[in-house]
């Protein structure tokens, strides 16, 4: 997984960087919430592991900002912090954290929690792919439904019951629109005027 570690304490940062990197993950590092937020604008990340108390932007605000992004792929957020009271856990989860890792931690616990994170990330990724496939399929259906079979001679339209409707009838049934008959200028010139001219000629002749 691609994991972003955020901590202003160099000791904590180095310990986590080594432990996470040692598990085969790709590690990015930021020194505070502001730097992490900037990095997230151009670096795809699967798991964000952030300290809580930091200068500039703290871990809670970073969490809230990540969750407020509506156009970004899912990101698993783990707060890595000394804060572990019930109130802290509630505040962290309400801000959008998926999990907590309490400092100082054992590497075995870190490994287990990242394993759980990976399951969720893979599930979310698979879900996003399925949603994308369904959206594409729905879009194709919508396109097909927009294609109207229309007779190239009389302009009747084949409805969903495979019956040919006159265009006025079809529009009334499907678009709730009544038609009023009129003559466009082109048809007037090509059809009506020749008829009128012919009638006038016949009258003169008689």
């Amino acid at each position: 997984m691609r994991i972003l570690i955020v901590d202003d304490d160099p000791v904590a940062r180095r310990i986590l960087e080594d432990a996470v990197g040692g598990l085969g993950h790709t590690v990015h590092v930021a020194h505070d919430g502001r730097e992490a937020w900037d990095l997230l604008s151009h670096e795809p990340v699967d798991v964000l592991m952030t300290d809580w108390v930091m200068p500039e932007m703290d871990g809670l605000e970073l969490c809230q900002r990540v969750r407020a992004r509506t156009d970004a792929p899912f990101m698993y957020v783990m707060l890595v912090t000394e804060r572990s009271t019930t109130d802290d856990v509630v505040d962290g989860i309400m801000a959008g954290a998926n999990d907590f890792l309490t400092k100082p931690y054992e590497r075995a616990e870190l490994r287990a929690r990242l394993h759980a994170a990976q399951r969720v990330v893979e599930l979310e990724r698979s879900l996003a792919e399925r949603v994308h496939e369904l959206e594409s399929a729905l879009s194709e259906v919508a396109t097909l439904r927009r294609l109207l079979p229309i007779c190239m001679y009389c302009h009747s339209i084949r409805n969903e019951k495979q019956v040919w409707d006159e265009i006025e009838e079809y529009l009334r049934d499907h678009a709730n629109a009544d038609c009023t008959h009129s003559i466009c200028p082109t048809c007037y010139d090509h059809r009506v005027r020749p008829m009128l001219d012919e009638m006038k000629s016949e009258q003169k002749a008689s």
Binding site: D8, D9, A12, D18, V53, E82, K103, P104, E106
Partner: protein
């Protein structure tokens, strides 16, 4: 006056766990901690002196965390007392708490230096 239990001054098992059993990383962490805490402590002392309790609490919080990760349990506990006093706006006994934290930190640094020597 805090006791000088060698195990709480430096819990070596905790430090080894943080370093994943890797001696070279352990020495790197010792070096990082010594430099970082040495740079932060004057800020804590100044904030305490100026009764800037919020700032003092934030610095103590950072020192508490890194001390705990290094296995410097006595120092971590002493910094936690200072952090909590800062958060609570408590000034009564503050000088003593800061002195205790500084002394615990010195003992921890001494043990860490001897470990790295």
């Amino acid at each position: 006056m805090p006791t000088e239990d060698p195990e709480t001054v430096l819990n070596l098992r905790r430090l080894e766990e943080s370093a994943g059993g890797d001696r070279s990383l352990m020495l790197e962490l010792v070096s990082l901690y010594l430099a970082d805490s040495d740079a932060k402590l004057p800020g804590l002392l100044a904030a305490a002196d100026e009764t800037e309790l919020h700032r003092m609490g934030r610095v103590a919080h950072g020192l508490k965390g890194s001390s705990a990760a290094m296995g410097c349990e006595e120092a971590a506990r002493a910094f936690r007392v200072v952090e909590e006093m800062g958060r609570a706006g408590e000034t009564h006994g503050l000088d003593g708490a800061v002195r205790d934290a500084q002394a615990a930190w010195r003992r921890a640094c001494e043990r860490l230096r001897s470990l790295a020597a």
